[in-house]
């Protein structure tokens, strides 16, 4: 059954806009797509036990790249998108080189400060970056403008494509030889280096790859919403992504995906917005850490195990 689940899911997602034409529904799906890409990209570094709280900063750099290239230089989106992924990755290399010198909670604090610095710089220099007001009227991708009014279906497919590419790449990476290296670092830096793992280099690669996909998500965000500002890509957003992963579960890539989907839909259903959403997310984070440390996926697997099927389920991948 598992062998068919994934193709069926992908076909269903591809066919979805043919069945549901509700613009609001498609909007939510695009937001989910952006969140899934961010959650999965943060999870890749999370495998090693490190959380980068600067993830929203890299997303902001990607979004800013797209905004400046397409709006000010009138470059096509299809050139801006890969550049928006590459530039955060290039910035991530030196930043990671320095911040990965420290471990655990020190790394959290340094990346947290990095995220604040990114939005601080973009907020300070008003000339290219728009200051606190941000940049508005970022043009959508070109083929969309051929159809006159821009419909959400095009963006839905764009987001879906980005999600599928990101998940496929990160899934391959996490299940490859290199992924095993990352999992081994989770058990302890010293232990991993004792069996010949180049710990700093492996962490750095994971850090750069997650910045790459965060930049791509930022690019999608910029062209979809058409408006970016330092108030969007905050530390709070990085924490939201962490909540997706914690609620979903760390053990497999299905965790961040399930978490991002569930926690994007639920606030939309109850229409909680703004500060109340942050309150809800804070409480969800506290309670899922205390009551459900393995996340939704881990809890589900444990329940399934208890019901009898005794197959080994650790590190089973989904999505």
């Amino acid at each position: 059954m598992n062998r068919f689940a994934l193709p069926i899911l992908i076909v269903a997602l591809l066919a979805l806009p043919l069945v549901v034409r509700d613009a609001y529904f498609l909007h939510v799906m695009v937001v989910i797509g952006i969140n899934v890409v961010m959650a999965v990209s943060m999870w890749l570094l999370g495998i090693t036990g490190l959380i980068s709280f600067g993830q929203a900063g890299f997303m902001f750099i990607g979004a800013m790249t797209t905004a400046l290239l397409t709006k000010n230089l009138h470059w096509p989106f299809w050139i801006a998108l890969p550049l928006s992924a590459v530039i955060p990755a290039l910035i991530a290399a030196p930043v990671g080189r320095l911040s990965l010198r420290v471990k655990g909670v020190y790394f959290f604090l340094v990346t947290l400060a990095f995220g604040q610095v990114v939005s601080g710089i973009f907020a300070y220099f008003e000339n290219p970056f728009g200051g606190w007001y941000g940049i508005r009227n970022i043009p959508p991708p070109q083929p969309a403008s051929l159809f006159g009014t821009l419909d959400k279906t095009a963006f839905y497919y764009l987001a879906l494509a980005l999600v599928l590419v990101t998940c496929w790449v990160i899934h391959r990476v996490s299940r490859s030889w290199f992924g095993d290296v990352l999992w081994s670092i989770r058990e302890g830096d010293l232990l991993a280096s004792s069996v010949g793992v180049d710990v700093p280099r492996s962490k750095l690669i994971a850090f750069v790859v997650s910045a790459f996909f965060a930049g791509a998500a930022g690019s999608l965000y910029a062209c979809y919403f058409g408006y970016i500002s330092p108030l969007v890509f905050t530390f709070e957003y990085s924490v939201n992504i962490l909540v997706f992963i914690v609620v979903g579960g760390f053990a497999t890539m299905a965790g961040p995906i399930v978490g991002a989907v569930a926690l994007t839909i639920v606030p939309e259903l109850f229409r909680v917005t703004g500060k109340y959403q942050m309150m809800a997310f804070g409480l969800i984070l506290v309670f899922s850490m205390l009551l459900m440390p393995q996340g939704i996926i881990g809890t589900w697997q444990r329940l399934r195990d208890r019901r009898g099927s005794r197959q080994p389920v650790a590190r089973e991948a989904g999505g």
């Binding site: 420290v102 909670v105 340094v110 309150m279 969800i284 850490m289 205390l290």
Partner: protein, 287 residues
């Protein structure tokens, strides 16, 4: 004129540095003793500033009474956090950090709903400005700086000479050995949380009387104290004091020359520089 201006910048930098120092000492104390980075610390700062406002300005009680209530409330909140959040997670450093962020967000947005987003000013208890050789300084600021400095000295004396302070240092150096010598770690933990919360409460009260009270006011001192603690070295009190004064001075200089927004970026650059040269901070343990 120029020398006076320099003195002015240095004085106001030292005042800020002393307040940040008090807040950062709470962070570093908890880290040194139980390896917990308490993210709720910033909300303690904010809540005690609100307590100050409600008791001294709304209810009209004297300053000292308001400060005492703020310290008490903040300590109770800290002990509650300890039992409800950190103790169930066995003080695991990463999980405690994450849970602390969640709790901090919940508290902060709850206070948005409660107190409203507008900053509220607390009228100064010591109005007036002192003129020391051409350098102007508000009496309230001078009082805040003196209080913070005095409390840091009290903390040092407490850790150095009292029984409970010695027990805390013992736990910091070696938990198992301290346990064998008859020190109860759990009572030390409670003391550490109470002291750290009390320091945050005084820092928050001082920030509140100087700059006004609003629900977001805890975020910046918390971030600053993280940077300070990392520069000085996690768990090192001396390092924290030096780094806090240094950062206060730097902020004052860059803030005057380049604007406040850039001061934080400069702080971060300093932190990065320290990480290149000495990842554990100036006086820290091995990372």
């Amino acid at each position: 004129m120029n020398a006076t201006m320099l003195m002015q910048i240095i004085t106001s930098g030292l005042v800020m540095g002393l307040i940040y120092m008090l807040i950062a000492l709470g962070v570093t104390l908890l880290f040194g003793i139980m390896r917990v980075v308490n993210f709720v610390h910033g909300e303690m700062v904010m809540l005690s500033a609100f307590a100050m406002y409600f008791i001294s300005t709304e209810a009209g009680l004297p300053f000292v009474a308001a400060l005492a209530v703020a310290i008490l409330a903040s300590s109770l909140a800290a002990v509650f956090c300890q039992y409800a959040l950190f103790s169930p997670l066995q003080y695991d450093i990463l999980n405690c950090f994450i849970v602390g962020i969640g709790a901090s967000f919940a508290i902060r947005s709850a206070s948005w709903a409660f107190f409203g987003p507008e900053p509220i000013a607390i009228p100064p208890t010591l109005p007036g400005v002192l003129n020391i050789g051409g350098v102007f300084i508000a009496k309230q600021r001078l009082f805040a700086a003196a209080l913070c400095g005095a409390l840091a000295i009290v903390l040092y004396l407490f850790l150095q000479y009292t029984r409970q302070g010695k027990a805390m240092r013992a736990v910091e150096q070696d938990r198992e050995a301290a346990l064998l010598m008859g020190v109860s770690p759990s009572s030390v933990y409670v003391t550490a949380f109470v002291i750290s919360a009390a320091l945050a409460a005084v820092g928050g009260a001082m920030l509140g009387t100087l700059f006004g009270v609003d629900p977001e006011m805890g975020a910046e001192p918390l971030l600053k104290s993280f940077i300070i603690v990392q520069i000085g070295g996690m768990g090192s009190l001396l390092g924290t004091v030096i780094a806090a004064l240094f950062i206060g001075l730097m902020d004052s200089v860059t803030g005057t020359l380049l604007g406040g927004e850039l001061a934080f970026i400069i702080d971060f650059a300093i932190l990065m520089l320290i990480l290149i040269v000495r990842p554990r901070g100036l006086f820290g343990y091995d990372v």
